[in-house]
């Protein structure tokens, strides 16, 4: 089967943790992207460092691909476990499954698709003097399958790998030549497709990378984090960007330190973000309230995984919606928004950071593992807001919490060039007077609470300037979702015989009532990755709807597009 009569082609690579499955997938995705294919790369991995079973999939097409596929046209197994696990994950009988015949001994008398084994382990023993790298085999086999040249294979490896280059190239070439000799066996499975015009602006980007770069474009100076999957890659990515992008990524001693150090940096005038998954975010609660009270602009990134507690570390979920909506104790305005694509992750991070600064309020960007850790060919929308600090008119004496009509007080920072010796800038976690000094008196307490409430109303109103919901599709039953569920629906939309319109909630809080009014009293379907139906409950709390079906998935995995399309056909 070729791509010309099939919309999307998929590759699956499986092996042990530590064998470079994800790296091979990344390299392959980059090669496809260079050839102007749209790609979607997803990584399924366990919370362990060596052994176990990891696999990555790369789906690609000449049109946008929004989600990963469970069945593949090209499968590459580094070991027996992968061979057995993915034995039936072929997309058709013409699919091709390469395996390591030093390890796996499949039933080749009755194969479900084309099977070809190569002695990868023996070959590596022969070639490598340095530590071996079986992931080279995946890249080489992909190059044969895609009919790319040996020279391109060599230059790709040189570009993408830093260590053991010579042995890697020798091994990759040996596998390449072996597979090329069998090219007649695989002709039917080859994708054989002409790609589009080159798209210069594309970059292979994960949701987390997009969040990081969007916030950075909006002025991010500091990111504080403590490792917790699936938020860690924001910390890692920004740490790499530190020298070139003048952004400082700090791994602190705990999430409590993360949130409080971040608040310190904001007090000194730095645009700052923090991030974690549910467990770590829970530890930041008190500081989140401090940000509400002290009017600290802070971008807080919550990347969900299955919970509660430690839950399932490396898989996806959307069960933190009520948690995100109710962050922190006490009365103050919360903003929660969830990107529905990596591009939106970029623009939303910038938008939210700017809103935080304009209104001196903490904001939450809610993502999930599937959106944050999957990669696509993204084009960053660069026309995002940038909050430019203006120097307040000095009505002496300066008051950090000066009461204004809109509730927004002028900002100044100690140590800035605009602060004179007489200016005192006091931020406070206690209820306070306009000067920032603590108070427990009734009247100023009411004044300050009213000020923050006015500011909160203005902030809620300001979100209307942004795209708070996104609609995909023209007609049919509305299907409501947020986060990576929107990606699942968009890919399933390609295959579902019954039409449906995807209503993606980008802003969850404030609830986008105005935009959703057109769906009042409609019969809808809701898709979410939780057992309790949190999104459905939240929708019903805010508007009148008839929920025909609430699709709930809570096994940590994303839907395969065909599987979801079939499910939607049943419930629509």
């Amino acid at each position: 089967m070729t791509l010309s009569n099939k919309k999307v082609s998929s590759i699956l690579i499986g092996g042990k943790a530590g064998e470079g499955v994800k790296k091979a997938a990344q390299v392959i995705a980059k090669v496809l992207l260079k050839q102007s294919y749209h790609v979607f790369q997803a990584d399924d991995y366990q919370s362990l460092i060596k052994g176990g079973h990891n696999f990555s999939t790369i789906s690609f097409a000449t049109e946008p691909v929004y989600n990963a596929y469970n069945s593949a046209d090209l499968l590459i197994s580094f070991d027996k476990r992968s061979m057995e696990t993915h034995w039936l994950d072929f997309s058709s009988s013409k699919s091709l499954h390469y395996y390591n015949d030093n390890d796996a001994k499949p039933d080749i008398t009755n194969p479900p698709c084309t099977l070809i084994g190569y002695p990868l382990t023996a070959l590596m023993k022969q070639i490598y003097s340095s530590p071996s790298n079986v992931s080279m085999a995946a890249i080489a086999l992909f190059f044969v399958w895609m009919e790319c040249s040996e020279a391109e294979l060599e230059s790709t490896i040189k570009q993408e790998f830093r260590y053991g280059i010579e042995d890697n190239i020798r091994f990759a070439k040996a596998v390449y030549r072996m597979a090329l000799a069998d090219a007649h066996l695989i002709s039917e499975s080859k994708p054989g497709l002409q790609a589009n015009q080159a798209q210069a602006n594309w970059r292979l980007t994960s949701g987390n990378q997009a969040i990081a770069m969007g916030a950075w474009l909006a002025g991010l100076d500091f990111y504080y984090g403590y490792p917790m999957t699936p938020a860690s890659s924001i910390l890692h990515y920004l740490a790499l960007k530190m020298p070139s992008h003048k952004v400082y990524a700090i791994h602190a001693e705990s999430e409590l330190a993360v949130a409080n150090m971040a608040i310190g940096s904001v007090v000194a005038g730095a645009k700052t973000a923090i991030g974690s998954s549910g467990g770590g975010f829970a530890l930041m609660q008190e500081a989140f309230s401090l940000a509400g009270m002290a009017e600290i602009p802070l971008l807080c990134i919550l990347v969900s995984r299955p919970g509660p507690a430690t839950g399932v570390s490396t898989y996806t979920a959307q069960e933190d919606l009520p948690f995100a909506l109710n962050q922190g104790h006490g009365d103050f305005t919360r903003i929660v928004a969830a990107p529905d694509s990596p591009e939106r992750a970029f623009s939303l991070a910038a938008e939210l950071l700017s809103l935080a600064w304009e209104f001196q309020n903490p904001v939450i960007l809610l993502s999930d593992k599937h959106l944050s850790e999957s990669s696509i060919n993204a084009v960053f929308p660069l026309d995002v807001p940038f909050f430019q600090q203006t120097i307040p008119q000095q009505n002496k004496p300066y008051e950090r919490y000066a009461v204004t009509d809109e509730g927004i007080s002028p900002l100044l920072f100690p140590g800035s060039d605009f602060v004179d010796e007489d200016t005192v800038i006091k931020w406070n976690s206690h209820e306070h007077l306009p000067s920032g000094l603590r108070t427990d008196k009734a009247e100023p307490m009411i004044g300050m609470k009213d000020k923050r409430a006015r500011k909160g109303s203005a902030l809620n109103e300001a979100t209307k300037h942004y795209q708070r919901i996104a609609i995909y599709g023209n007609s049919g039953t509305p299907v409501f979702a947020y986060g990576s569920s929107v990606l699942e629906l968009r890919e399933a939309q390609k295959y579902c015989s019954k039409p449906f319109v995807i209503i993606a909630l980008v802003y969850l809080l404030p609830f986008p009532s105005e935009e959703l009014e057109q769906y009042a009293n409609s019969q809808i379907v809701v898709l979410e990755h939780s057992v309790n139906g949190n999104l459905a409950t939240y929708l019903l709390q805010n508007m009148s709807l008839c929920i025909k079906h609430n699709i709930l998935r809570y096994d940590g995995r994303a839907y395969d597009p065909h599987e979801l399309a079939a499910l939607l056909e049943e419930v629509l």
Binding site: M213, W216, L217, G219, D221, F222, Y224, S244, H245, K246, Y248, I250, A252, E253, S254, L256, A257, N260, M261, A262, I263, G264, S265, V266, V267, A268, G269, A270, K271, T272, E286, A287, L290, A294, F380, L382, F386, Q388, F413, P414, G415, S416, D417, V419, D420, E421, D422, T423, V424, I425, K426, W427, N428, S429, H430, G436, L437, R438
Partner: protein, 275 residues
């Protein structure tokens, strides 16, 4: 120089050791201004407890933070704008209980900030429960039969964690304390001043301290000697126990840059991203 106090009504108990500390801080700041440090480049942080009220009594910029987190917010301030001289006030329950991790890590990083630790051996503001520095046997509302734990020793603990300037003062020896604070702020690296301070309501140690305090004659060269003197069972030594110049965190991170003052413009960011 302008007034360093505020109009805020002081609510410490009459006779509280905090008054001595407040006076010493003001004296130290005045001396620092004479050393050409600008008031606009000084920032203060604190946690929650009786010590924290000093924030309201000082006309200096900063943040009155959360219980235990004053050292964390102080580090964030310093990292964002290294031009700032950051002084963090902490109580014994605050800095060595709720926020112990931040105190140890600030020392470990040799973060260039000063921690003034108000050691009154009790939780004053929450009505006298035992603190991490309370003596064994201390009786409070939560330990009516006596504290069954033994106290931390702040100076050995912080020395082990990596503090590069460690001193001890006494709230009743104001000029000495002021001089310690001044030197601590000028020290490049993490500086700790443990201030022995009676709590007149719950742990009145005036008589005991007056009997036992003794000035250190010299700053020991050997850290083992510092630890020995700090933990001396008989005398409460006052003075500088340890002083060493070591690399500081912000310079290891970004050398002479200033993240806030050198923050890239929107245009610079756009250009870098379009590359």
């Amino acid at each position: 120089m302008r007034e360093l106090g505020t109009h805020k009504e002081n609510t410490w108990c009459s006779g509280c050791g905090n008054f001595g500390i407040l006076t010493a801080v003001k004296k130290a700041i005045t001396a620092l201004v004479e050393d050409n440090i600008k008031l606009s480049n000084i920032a203060i942080t604190c946690g929650i407890g009786c010590h924290g009220k000093i924030f309201d009594y000082l006309a200096l910029s900063g943040i009155y933070g959360l219980h235990g987190r004053g050292t964390a917010t102080a580090q964030g301030l310093k990292l964002a704008n290294p031009k700032l001289h950051v002084i963090s006030f902490g109580g014994d329950g605050d800095s060595l209980g709720e926020g112990l991790e931040h105190t140890l890590f600030a020392a470990k990083r040799n973060m260039d900030i000063t921690l003034i630790l108000f050691n009154n051996g009790t939780y004053g503001l929450t009505t006298g429960q035992f603190s991490p520095l309370s003596n064994n046997g201390y009786k409070g509302l939560s330990t009516p039969l006596g504290n069954i734990e033994r106290p931390f020793r702040a100076i050995p603990l912080l020395l082990e964690a990596g503090a590069s300037f460690v001193a001890r003062g006494y709230s009743a020896k104001i000029d000495h304390l002021a001089s310690l604070i001044q030197q601590a702020v000028l020290h490049k690296g993490f500086s700790l001043i443990e201030v022995m301070q009676p709590c007149v309501s719950y742990n009145n140690t005036y008589a005991d301290l007056n009997n036992r305090v003794k000035m250190l004659e010299i700053t020991p060269n050997e850290i083992t000697q510092s630890v020995k003197l700090a933990a001396d069972p008989e005398h409460v030594y006052l003075g500088i126990f340890y002083r060493q110049l070591l690399p500081v965190y912000h310079e290891e991170l970004y050398q002479n840059a200033n993240p806030v003052l050198d923050s890239l413009s929107h245009q610079q960011r756009l250009e870098l991203l379009s590359k």
